[in-house]
Symmetry: C2
Subunit: 328 residues, 2 copies
């Protein structure tokens, strides 16, 4: 963590003024270094009061997801230890892919305030307007069979839902396989990409976009999408959501890696599955059918119970599942 992040971390958790001397001693740096770092933070929008003989105090902070803000909050074991921030980029997934090819370590994260060409699944566009959304991608190098890697997307959906519940108090749920929804509308998109040899994963990139402080949603998406601030009725601190998402994802990922499947996580996933025990329509290219969603199994497949009580395992790649009544 750089000096800026360390000072920020300390100021955020102090209710009293922190003396310059304390900062110098604590971090083993000069007064000038502290003064410079504080000035850089001020330039980034942090309101830091400096009072003679008392020290520094953080009065207010911007809704930033820049490097100092996130690094000062992260208490993960290994995720985000290499952290990059960009005001604007094409696509954070592409940035992480480039870093992966250059040899970056697992857990490397690229965060952007805004993406000019954010990617959704199958080449669809994903909107990430500046100042209101969160876009970030994580580099992973799991030593598992390529077939098991798509489950990682489900872990991120769980992590985002978890972070939304904790930071906003909203009832976030999951539309299988990996859409996070609040009040039936989508707030988060996840795109997992992989680079592999036949049987061997080079790396996995998990890209996540979260609608946080958008005040309105484009007309054509209004029916199915929303933002956290719209649902909560107030602005949300983006760094809060991002911090908790990364922390939760690290935990889910480590649990997943113990078995390379969801055997220890499927129950928790199913608790927040929107379609659970509801009727769903399965849009299989080989033929449409309806049944009752019984949640996922340890491979992440959705179990759909038909009228004759037989159960069909639905693999995410092949089909689309719709709720019969509303967006589940």
């Amino acid at each position: 963590m750089d000096l800026k992040s360390r000072i920020l971390s300390l100021l955020r958790t102090s209710e009293e003024y922190v003396s310059g001397q304390e900062l110098c001693d604590g971090f083993g740096v000069s007064r000038t270094a502290v003064w410079k770092a504080v000035n850089l933070l001020k330039e980034e929008g942090y309101e830091i009061e400096a009072v003679k003989n008392k020290g520094y105090k953080l009065m207010s902070y911007p809704d930033s997801i820049a490097k100092s803000e996130i690094a000062s909050r992260l208490h993960t074991k290994w995720m985000g230890k290499e952290l990059h921030y960009l005001d604007e980029t094409g696509s954070t997934n592409n940035d992480v892919k480039r870093l992966a090819e250059e040899g970056s370590i697992p857990g490397t994260i690229v965060v952007a305030d805004c993406q000019s060409s954010g990617k959704g699944r199958r080449g669809r566009a994903w909107q990430s307007p500046p100042g209101t959304s969160i876009s970030f991608s994580i580099l992973l190098k799991p030593d598992i069979a390529p077939d098991n890697a798509p489950m990682i997307t489900l872990l991120m959906a769980m992590a985002v839902a978890d972070a939304i519940r904790k930071t906003c108090g909203l009832e976030a749920q999951i539309k299988w396989p990996n859409d996070v929804v609040v009040n039936g509308k989508k707030v988060c998109g996840i795109l997992t990409e992989m680079s592999l040899e036949s049987d061997y994963i080079h790396y996995v990139v998990v890209g996540t976009g979260i609608n946080v402080n958008q005040e309105s949603i484009p007309e054509e998406l209004k029916e199915t999408a929303t933002s956290l601030s719209i649902e909560k009725g107030r602005k949300i601190v983006r760094a809060d959501v991002l911090e908790h998402t990364i922390a939760a994802f690290e935990e889910y990922y480590e649990t997943f890696m113990k078995t390379a499947d969801l055997s220890m996580l499927a129950d928790e996933y199913n608790e927040i599955l929107v379609s659970r025990d509801k009727e769903v329509k399965v849009l299989d290219p080989k033929g449409e059918f309806s049944g009752i969603s019984r949640g996922i199994n340890k491979k992440g497949e959705l179990l759909v119970e038909l009228k004759d009580h037989s159960v069909r395992n639905i693999y995410a790649g092949e089909v689309s599942v719709r709720g019969l009544y509303g967006y589940v």
Copy 2:
């Protein structure tokens, strides 16, 4: 095809002198343009005689795999229409990946005379010394399930074996899944890499390295590797091998894409399979066993018949197969 390649193509197939006028008329360009192109070819090592009132004649050509040489030879439908050549590069697979991210068309090929950090499977190094080997990578965007993509590697092995038989008259065979061997020693390595979403292929890169004119093989590889010129006892024209490999691969690939499996190709593959009907030892991490190799099925799995006449399907990713007597 550029003018240089078109002139080269015409001169190569003409036993007589070709007049400058004929070239101008044929390609709709000026005498100066022809003269410039001929000079460029001379600089690349082509010996072109120019005789007044008779025209141009190709007397000899270098052992080149540069763009003009390959483009002037290719009569494929779509493979190699975008063609790049580099005297030296890190890895042609990495070059094609970069081109893929930038939107290059399927069939795009990067050829290099030499790779400074050629890649084998699982990060192993692959030697591609200048002037003697062929290194090239092809970009593909097959609309098939990711599970089926590893079979593309087997198609390239068939194409290389086919080209070696046609151009050198050597009995090239395949060591399952995708090593091409001559007289029991490896002459070709293939590394297939993919970029995907969970269920959707962005692109596949098939990289191939062929040992052609190496006069000697490093001591530590001598037991298992060789070059075409060592086996044939004379120099081989590299462009000949590359031309036929690309042509054969286009055909095999199109056949494969009709069914997205090897149902129309497995018989041909099995005809040149070294281990066919021989005893093999299967080094499965779950336990070693021996049996008789009965060739591949339409999924590219090796069928091994055990002593009790039951048959086990061996999937390439999991195991390694060794011949009991020599390198099969």
